[in-house]
Every structure is written in structure tokens, then in C-alpha cells.
Amino acid sequence: MLQGIIPMDGLDDILTKYYQTDGSIVSILQDMEGRYGYIPEEAVAWVSEKTGLSASRFYGVATFYGQFHLVKPGKNVVKVCRGTACHVKGSEKISDDIRTLLKVGVGETTPDGNFTVEHVACVGACARAPIFIVGKDVYGKITPQKAKKTLEKYMGGEGNGKG
């Protein structure tokens, strides 16, 4: 009944690709996340029905791992690296400042749906800390001022894909 809202075609592929080979719920969810940018309730219900596994099995796994979103993220996912190298280089202030600017908490989306702010733990570019990511664009040696300026580029409605 919910299939009209979210296109379900392709989920079949996900199922045959992973479920029948090694039974990995993680892999199914990863493909779902990749496809929709989050884990839609409808998709879980669909997969649960097809596999005969209860939805709670899927949610048990989805809530365990940091990668999965249960609500749809904004148009631009902004990630502030909170790894150790970035921390000593002032990433806490970067996160504080952009969240003051956007008026959101960590993991929250702006009311206009343009930005979701997230924290990540190290993307491996520590020598260029602090690191700040908008969509797929990675910025190194960022300052709070530069971070705010950078965000302005994404404010004019120009989306940058999903995180």
C-alpha cells in the first residue's frame, strides 16, 4: 500500500544480490541507505515481508550502526570531523559556530530541509585538520569563518546531492 510513495523497484535486486548470498542484513541496509539516503519505514516493511524476518531485526541492526539514518537527511549533509586531530585543531568550535548559524543540533536538519549537520569520527585526512565536508566536497584546514563562508555557497538552493 505504501509502494506508491517510495519506488520499490530495485529492492528486489538488493535482495537477490545480498540476501541469498550471505544473508547480511547490514548489506541490505547499506544498499537501502545508498538508494534513498536513509532507511525508509516502507522499505523495511517490504523487505521484512519478503524475507520473513521481523522488522525489528532490521531496526536492531540499523540503530546499532552510525551509518544509518532513520529520517531523511536534508539536501546538503554537512559533516564536521570530530576525530582527535580535528578536535585539537578546533573542530568543536566549527561545529558550534555553524550550528549557531543554522540553528540546529547535531544530527538535525534545518526547517527548510537544506542542511543536516552531522559529526564524523575521522576521514583519514588528519594532517589537514580540521576537516569539513559538504555533500561530497571535502575542505581541509578550515576555520570557523571559512566554514560559514563555504556554507553560503550552498544556501542559494543549489543542492549538492545527498551526503
Binding site: 547490514v26 546499532f64 576525530g83 585543531k89 568550535k93 569520527a121 594532517a127 589537514r128
Partner: protein, 602 residues
Amino acid sequence: MEKAKTEIIVGMGTCGITAGASDIYALAAEQAKAKGLSVKLSSTSCIGMCHSEVLVDVVTEGYARVTYGNVTTATMEEIIDSHVSGNVPVLKYTIAQMPSYGKTYDDIPVFEQLPYMNKQERVVLSNCGFIDPLSIENYISHGGYEALKKVIAAADPKAAIEIIKASGLRGRGGAGFPTGLKWEFCNKAQSDVKYIICNADEGDPGAFMDRSVLEGDPHAIIEGMLIAGYCIGASYGYVYCRAEYPLAISNLKVAISQAHEMGFLGDNVLNSGFKFNIKIKEGAGAFVCGEETALIASIEGLRGMPRAKPPFPAQKGLWGKPTVINNVETLANIPRIIVKGAEWFSAFGTEKSKGTKVFALAGKINRGGLIEIPMGITLREIIYDIGGGIPNDRAFKAVQTGGPSGGCLTAAMLDTPVDYENIAKAGSIVGSGGMIVMDEDDCMVNIARYFLEFTQSESCGKCTPCRIGTKRLYEILHRITEGKGRKGDLELLDELSEDIRAASLCGLGQTAPNPILSTLKNFRDEYAAHIEEKRCPAAVCKPLITFTIIEKSCTGCMACSRACPVNAITGEKKKPHFLAQELCIKCGSCFDVCKFKAVLKK
């Protein structure tokens, strides 16, 4: 004179791309075409000098390879016009030259003699930043897959295991368990199916050894896994890689398919009858999945929760079958040891810590990047000789090793030799190789709080001491940094830490208190200042600091009042400004923007 053939090599590791390497690559391609130059454009990965990205190398046939640093689009044009077109290096941007490629130029330092390089010993990193990671031919021409051929030709897995044992190689993932011994256990285990897993989860937030090796030399990992598989009798390998490393994953995918095409992977490896295939599993963002039993659960598609050991994975691992789990760096050592011998390897290092170790040097350091040193050189040599010391004339305060499981070492410990035993004696661990340098502006209570915030949120929740204990530790630390510390808090931290260490099920909980214990031991005064005097000596903890404007120094430039997000600063142009304490949210923006040092942070 005949026109020389020239190669331009752009550093396209994660750091390079972050610094803008893709634009430089595109520009080089476009210019070479527009100017009709016969150049070969290629890319390489992390050479370790991440502090100087974007890095571009130019090799004119018959001449030394020249490395340029901090390359921008403007400098790239100059390099093309002068060096690429006319074989005249642009000296103001050169970092080094490598004479092994040919005739040297005047006035460019030799790569191996740079202060950053001359104490390094590159074994694991021997290919990183030199070869094109996307070219299997390049790997083979640098001696790649020789070790595999040697092991298969000898057809004696036990003898190969003996070589690894004799080399003294210990696991580089953190625990330092002898690799050869682990393989021997698994070799002896009776089973029709066995697995080898490469642990590329690299959970230490602030470290990037494994990502650089995967990006820069993926075939070395494949070859290491093949040899491990051959030795223990496994036909399947998994690489469990964190999803935050997309470039590492894509380079590895390319390498795997190339290895298949060339017959190194597949159902009949090198026509020997040995079958070996590799699958990549992407992590899903849980630190605990670096722990081997949690990692296995995660590959099986479940919640990544550790289980009690024994049975060890070598007896009962993935899908209940005997499994060897090795770290990326451990595996990258294998082909080199097989080719050059156990004695060659064990000549590096100290009595019980053989070989070299890769470290990711970051934080308050002039030359941050990826380094590989023989075990046994001192922290001072790493931080000052290789890393070039602390920027902005600040004083060194501490170096953090071992990530969330490790500790902070002080200035008095700088002469500690870096090996498993000595770093442990000093109160930390070598860990997987993260090394974060901190200066006088870093608050050690804040650092301890930072790590506990991380571990308590990453605790899988299976056992109570870790799930609840780390949360309580975090709350106490948080309270102290808010100026609400109480008498007895330090004793409470000590006691609770010991309990969590003793009672937790897995390494995460058992080591989570380490950042507290080491800072409590080495920086107890700083904790006391927070609790007793409600003062943060490093001026980091917000509730304990105030910002004021020094009237004498304020020029009335208005930079601060414009920067303040809550309009707490008022004042007319060219007249001293005033900061209203009751409005201030202590964001520090005014302090950052004031060019006249007129904002005081205390």
C-alpha cells in the same frame, strides 16, 4: 636537442584531494594538451608529506624525479612552462629530488636526506607515493607478487609460517600479538573451510596509516592476504574497511579485479591449484567493529557486538570456522619479509619489537603526515627531527598515542624509545599508530573528556561496566570541565577506571579509562585547578573562562562586534569596544578575529 619525454605525477591521496589535487590534475592535462607537450600524466598516492599537499612530481627522462609542494593552479602553470617544457625546475617550489631516477639538478635537496625523511625507514610504505596504485604492472615492476610466487613454488606453508615467526613481526592493529604464531594456530585447526580477514576498520579517530596503505599500495594487501591464506589453508578473504574511506575502497576494488585478470586471485592461483578469492565488506560506522569478534559479527550481518574469548577466532571465527584476522599494516609487511627474509626484517627495531612502524603524525606539529620509523627511535626524534616541532612558537605539552585506548605522554618522556615495551612503561600504548601532538593551548581534562565522550557513545552496550561505567566517567569529566567538579572526584575517577578496566568484556571497555588514567597521573595539577580553583589553565573549558576587551589595545576596528553571533560587543568605530559578559556565550570568535590582541581570554 631532442625533446625529452616527461612525466607529471600528481599526489591523489585523500589529503591531496582535500587540498585540491583534482583541479591541479585537470589543469595539467588541459595545459599539456593546449601547449602540445608530449607528457605522460599519472597519479600516485600518499608519500607521507601530507603537510605539503598538493604534491606534484615531474620526471624528465634521464633526470632525477623532482617533488613540488603546496602546488596551486598558478604554480602548476609555472612548473609546466619551465620544468615540463624546458627541463628547468622552478626552484622556489621544489621540495626534493630523487637521484635514483637519473641526473640530478643543482640546488634541490635529495629526498632521502630531507629532515622529514632521513630518520625514516620505509618498508610498508616503500611503494606508497611512488607507484601508481591503479596499475598492477607498476606494482609488479617494483617486485610485486614475487613473494607469492616464492611461497607457492616452495609449496610448504609451514616453512613460510616459520619465516614470519622468525621475523618477530607482531600485529600492527594494536594488541601486538605475534603474527606467525597466530597463523600457526589457524594452520593447525582442522576444518574444511577457513577465512582470512584484513582489518581495515581503522577506528582510532585521528589516524590514517591503513587508509594510506590501502589507497597507495592495495596490491601489497592482496598479496599479504594471499600468502596468509596459503599458509593457513584459507580460500576466502574478506577486507573489512571503514566506509569513511571511499578512495581506499575503490582503489582496492580495481586492484582485486586486476589481480583476477592476471591470475593471482581466483580458483587456480598461478596454476597451482590454490583457490583464493577476496570480498570487500564496508563497515557501517561503529568503532567497536574493529574488535575482532565484533568485526566477525558485523560481516555476518549482525549487530557488531564482541563475544568472550576463548574460543579465539583462529579456532572458531567467521561463520564458526577458523579465521585469522590481521591488520592492514601487518599484512603489508608480509610480502617484504618473504622476499627479503626474516633476518633482514628483524635487523630493524629493538629486542622485542622488530621491524618498522607506521605512524600518523598530526595535531600541533609543523610537518604532519605519514611516517615509518624503525622501532626504537625516540619520541623526540619523531616530533622534532621528523615533524619539525610545534608551530607558532608554542610549547610542547603532550603527545597522545594509541587513540581512545592510549594515553598522553609528557615532555619529560620525550626520550622514550618508541616500541611496545617502552611506550607501555611510560603509561601509554603504541596502538595502531595514531600520534597526536598537543601544545600549551590544549587542556588535558578536555582531552580526557573528549575520548570518554567517544568511547561511551561507541560502547556496544553488551556489558554493564563499559556501558554504564564509561558514561559515568564522561559525566564526571564533563562536570569538572564545567566548573562543577567536587572534592573526591579524582579518587572516584581512579577507582571507577580500575573497575571498568578489570570487569569489561572486550578491549574497548578494558582500555577506555586509559586516557583518564594517564592524564590523571601526568597532569593531576590541571585537574586540581579545574576542581579547586574553578580555573582552566589552558583557557579551553568555556564555563571557566571569560573574554574581555583590553581598552588600551582596542583600536575600534569593529572586527569583533561584527563577528559576535549574539551582539555582545558594542562600541563606535575607532573607539574602544565593550563586551557585555551577561550576553557572551564564550564562542571565542572575537578572540579569533582581533588583529590587535585586544581580546583577552582567561
